[in-house]
């Protein structure tokens, strides 16, 4: 059931390494070093130090009492990754990979970013550890998330707006890969989600698994058992796989939530697992949103961080194995969830995380009060207030 470190880099039929030959030695070097350091005592100690002292782990598991009462059903707990340094779960992975890059003696770090959260987390980890970083970001995303562009600049990172293709996350990944091919010897590609060629999906999952591991420990203290249900949003799927992976062998019901945008029946969504088909993109075999000839489709989501036509290969595997249920939330449901959480709990969630909140709101009512639902609140929503304001204003105007 649980492919821990698949030797051929595959989760069942998904994953693998479909990459230009120039990257093969770099990917092999990465895999070798990751395997060497992941169980290395001093590496683990150093990572743990930064996760605790710099990033702010462990994050609280907060009982959302007001939200629970408002809905009237199962207890809703929030795993507060939004309280981490930088405001999102991304720092778990960037600290891990930046420390690895340092041990591999790579001085130049490149990364891609969608909403800008991974870019910011990369810029922070690199500033903290004395590495230089350059971040590729879709031109459209640089506009809708301009605050994050400014943050990256302040942190000393160079942001390259990507004007090719759909000018969003997928194109930023293409451009980062092209940079890596060109500067393969001295550059470390710090991928931000559980996607890409092996070993990235495994490595990112492992660095993010601290989320699920803490949830298990914290729920044990609160309830003396695992949560009945966990929910996380899925774009590439790093916060989700980090939440799910430690619980895969348990009885916990696991739900991933994709972006249904304007609806799964429209062309405007990013729900890869719910509506996609198998294919190869960015070095991996996975589910993709593609047309009848295998051209990758442009996606839509109100949250830039979920606006991606692929998904981590382990999610594709977990879907086909029926271990995880993948559902979706529309932009409207997401805005409603965003507003509800903000007003009931005084917590402004990222629009990405609001997809998971929306699912919790949908199902909590029908569950008994004795049950517990843990929602991973992967990031905070300060970056999204403008988008929300505009959405709400447009709805008012159209009435």
């Amino acid at each position: 059931m649980k492919p821990r470190f698949p030797k051929d880099g595959r989760f069942g039929e998904f994953g693998g390494k479909y990459i230009p030959e120039t990257l093969v030695p770099a990917i092999e070097e990465l895999e070798e070093n990751y395997l060497k350091f992941k169980n290395d005592k001093s590496f683990k100690k150093e990572l743990n130090y930064y996760l605790t002292e710099y990033a702010g782990r462990p994050t609280p598991l907060y009982f959302a009492k007001n939200l629970t009462e408002k809905i009237g059903g199962a207890k809703i707990y929030l795993k507060r990754e939004d309280l981490l340094h930088g405001g999102a779960h991304k720092i778990n992975n960037t600290l891990g990979q930046a420390l690895l890059a340092k041990r591999m003696k790579k001085k130049r770090i490149i990364a891609e970013t969608g909403a800008g959260q991974h870019g910011v987390a990369t810029a922070m980890a690199c500033a903290c550890l004395g590495l230089t970083s350059e971040v590729y970001m879709g031109y459209k995303d640089t506009i809708r998330q301009k605050l994050n562009v400014y943050r990256m600049n302040l942190l000393g990172s160079k942001v390259h707006p990507v004007k090719s293709g759909s000018q969003t996350l997928k194109d930023a990944i293409n451009e980062a890969i092209r940079d890596w091919i060109t500067n393969v010897k001295d550059t470390y590609y710090l991928l931000g989600s559980a996607v890409g060629p092996h070993p990235y999906p495994v490595m990112v999952r492992d660095f993010q698994s601290v989320i699920g591991t803490e949830i298990i420990q914290q729920m044990k203290k609160i309830n003396k058992k695992n949560p009945d249900i966990v929910i996380a949003c899925v774009g590439g799927g790093s916060n989700a796989i980090g939440t799910f992976y430690p619980l895969i062998d348990s009885d916990t019901e696991i739900i991933g939530v994709e972006a249904a945008g304007k609806g799964l029946k429209t062309e405007y969504h990013s729900a890869t697992l719910s509506a996609g088909s198998k294919g190869v993109l960015h070095g991996m075999m996975t589910y993709l949103l593609q047309d009848k000839e295998g051209q990758i489709k442009e996606t839509h989501s109100i949250s830039a961080g979920l606006d991606y036509p692929g998904v981590g290969p382990e999610h594709a595997f977990l879907k086909d194995a029926n271990r995880v249920k993948y559902r979706s939330a529309t932009d409207k449901e997401v805005i409603d969830a965003f507003l509800l959480l903000t007003r009931t709990e005084g917590i402004i969630p990222a629009l990405e995380s609001s997809h998971a909140i929306a699912e919790a709101i949908k199902i909590a009512r029908s569950k008994p009060k004795s049950e517990s639902i843990v929602v991973t609140l992967s990031g905070r929503g300060d970056k999204d207030v403008e988008v929300v304001e505009e959405y709400v204003r447009n709805i008012k105007n159209s009435r």
Binding site: E21, P25, T182, L281, Q295, I296
Partner: protein
């Protein structure tokens, strides 16, 4: 290998004339459906030995700016596989030149390797180049190619070590494609020493069993002449041709392509 291979026969023929191969790349649907054929006619008349037909993919991660833009333009104008098959059939009515399809894994996988290789073989394609297909992932791909006598042209890079080179060569038919630079496709300013070393090492590993073509960044007759002198069995020119198509008015297209191709071809005649 069973069956005949136009590619292998071409290299044998050139060898007997003491010539190296000129391989030219052009993109299906670029600058439009009609003029793709004009470009190909120009390439054939100018003396190209093998033609690579690039089929556009939405996410061409091994390609530089020139081919990226051509891919996007071609897709925007509605390039599709129906158009590709029409084009191949038209070329086959006029010429026996070896034709190689160059595209990304997803296009081939999406069609089903076995079914698609059968169809392209029937249409007249001789080989495939897939820059994001590694030997590790190639089991089904190779099986389908062998079943349909499609040559599998794998790429190697200056950082490919000897052991891996030998592994890749074992799965390669037609010719081996040496990527000249650390980088994507496109025009380079100067020839690097590491490229010259890589060519030497690759030739040595190929051990005359398989021809070695060199591409990525070869854009002028001088570049081509240099690599022929350094022992390349074939020189591959892509982005420079796409650029030429980009800036040439349709009325002069065939003539311009013929002239440039002739200049390139002349460099491959060793004696």
């Amino acid at each position: 290998m069973s069956g005949t291979s136009r590619i292998r026969d071409k290299f044998l023929e050139l060898d007997s004339k003491n010539e190296k191969a000129l391989i030219t790349y052009t993109m299906v649907g670029y600058p439009n459906e009609k003029d793709t054929l004009t470009v190909i006619r120009g390439l054939i008349k100018g003396g190209a030995d093998i033609i690579e037909l690039g089929f556009p993919f939405s996410d061409p991660l091994a390609d530089g700016r020139v081919i990226q833009n051509a891919s996007m333009m071609s897709l925007d104008k509605g390039a599709n596989l129906g158009q590709f098959f029409r084009l191949v059939r038209k070329i086959r009515q006029e010429s026996n030149i070896p034709l190689v399809l160059m595209t990304y894994t997803n296009i081939l996988y999406h069609q089903n390797y076995e079914k698609f290789f059968k169809e392209i073989k029937n249409a007249g394609i001789d080989g495939v180049i897939t820059p994001d297909m590694t030997i590790e992932e190639s089991k089904e791909y190779l099986k389908a190619a062998r079943n349909n006598t499609i040559d599998t042209i794998f790429l190697v890079s200056p950082n490919t070590d000897k052991k891996r080179l030998e592994k890749i060569i074992r799965q390669t038919t037609g010719f081996l494609y040496l990527v000249a630079v650390y980088g994507t496709t496109g025009i380079q300013n100067k020839i690097q020493q590491y490229t010259v070393d890589a060519l030497k090492n690759t030739k040595k590993a190929a051990n005359r069993k398989i021809p070695v073509g060199i591409g990525f960044g070869i854009s002028t007759p001088d570049d081509a002449r240099y690599f022929v002198k350094q022992g390349a069995d074939a020189v591959i020119v892509g982005s420079a041709l796409i650029k030429l198509v980009e800036k040439t008015p349709p009325s002069k297209l065939e003539k311009t392509i013929i002239e440039f191709t002739k200049k390139l071809k002349n460099t491959t005649k060793v004696s």
